[in-house]
Amino acid sequence: MKHACKPEQAAEMIPDGSVVLIGGFMAVGTPERIMDALVARGARNLTVVANDTAMPGKGIGKLISAGAVSRVIASHIGLNPETQQKMISGEIEVELVPQGTLVERIRAAGVGLGGVLTKTGLGTPVEDGKPTVEINGETFLLETPIRGDFALLAARQADYVGNLEYSLTAHNFNPIMALAAETVIAEPQLIVPVGVISPDSVKTPGVLVDHLIERAA
């Protein structure tokens, strides 16, 4: 059984300089209370791995505005002008990764694969400096796994053992990120007794989840 923790406690667990995988797509499926707590704590120098950096005032955008982030690995930053400005000024280093490659690189780390062999990015700037592998006469780009110190997830509901369910388009990167970090912290909208979530509805087994954020006040 998990002990629920406050968002502030979660933020204390995450040292400056950590690599954090953060669920969400344009802030849908992003753990907002953990974002707020990281900002309140004055977190610095985080490497954020996420699909995007949302927009100012939402999700990961809050971390960007607060100056908590020094590096971003994402597929898209176009809707957050602050990320773009900070990239140009050199405050934030940005690695752009095709979205499908990003999720497979995180999954590779999570399921113990040595890398990802993909056609995505071939013949584009994504290929620069990366090895290619020839398989049966076809060329594939070799992309390396991405692992986090922490995964910060949003979920629809959790039970007391940490089993997670997600809703509609708020799944996105959350179930995969749950596999790929040393410490997994989930912020569910609801926490329900064991047995309320059927085994067949569990998308992330509780054994992967280290901490649950307590119910909102």
């Binding site: 994402a74 176009g78 499908g100 584009t124 708020a170």
Partner: protein, 217 residues
């Protein structure tokens, strides 16, 4: 008729019953408005749903259900929630029948550039590289020229999106099919002459006999 509407109406004819289709943000998303009544397709939003529907009634929006642009949407009966791994597994695994994307440039090889302008605009590729590398059919929906400058060129000057020949280019002036031999002019807007299309195109066009008018109803 506005250029965007012409393009969207023509692209709509490429959509057939039972296809799984992904429409890019902006112009491509307009295609959904012009589908023939008897065509039943599932639209995928790469952020996590198959069976995307129109905007919900006022006050009934679900913050956990948006499209890839972040706008509120609905899910049609028979919809499926998918995480990013499944979403891009479908795209990269050849399960997506068709994607419609905007373009900055397309060249004589049929290669697309649509994700960055060096030194000016670096929003990130999002899912574009995966979509172009993986979809069965890639339709580029774009205006024919940009402020008088050619967008269809002998060779793209902007960084490529993928090293894969797109299937079709649909503009307000013409329908062009990239082939091994080069760009084939398949159709022209009823009010536009073949010479006008040629003048607006930076790459050579191949013609096989008469060039029929585009179907816009």
């Amino acid at each position: 008729m506005e250029a965007k509407e012409i393009i969207a109406r023509r692209v709509a004819h490429e959509v057939k019953t039972d296809m799984l289709v992904n429409l890019g943000i902006g112009l491509p998303s307009l295609v959904a408005n012009y589908l023939p009544k008897d065509v039943h397709v599932f639209f995928q939003a790469e952020n996590g749903v198959i069976g995307l529907g129109a905007r919900p009634p006022e006050g009934m929006e679900d913050p956990d259900l948006t499209d890839a642009g972040g706008g509120f949407v609905t899910a049609l009966p028979g919809a499926a929630s998918i995480d990013s791994a499944m979403s891009f597994g479908l795209i990269r695994g050849g399960h997506l029948d068709m994607t419609v994307l905007g373009g900055l440039q397309v060249d004589a090889r049929g290669y697309l550039a649509n994700w960055m302008i060096p030194g000016k605009m670096v929003p990130g590729m999002g899912g574009a590289m995966d979509l172009v590398a993986g979809a069965k059919k890639v339709v580029i929906a774009m205006v024919h020229t940009a402020k008088g400058a050619h967008k269809i060129l002998p060779e793209c000057t902007l960084p490529l999106t993928a090293q894969r020949r797109v299937s079709l280019i649909v503009t307000e002036m013409a329908v062009i099919e990239p082939t091994e031999a080069g760009l084939v002019l398949k159709e022209r807007h009823p009010d536009v002459s073949v010479d006008e299309v040629i003048a607006a195109t930076g790459a050579s066009l191949i013609m096989h006999g008469d060039v029929p008018p585009m179907q816009l109803t």
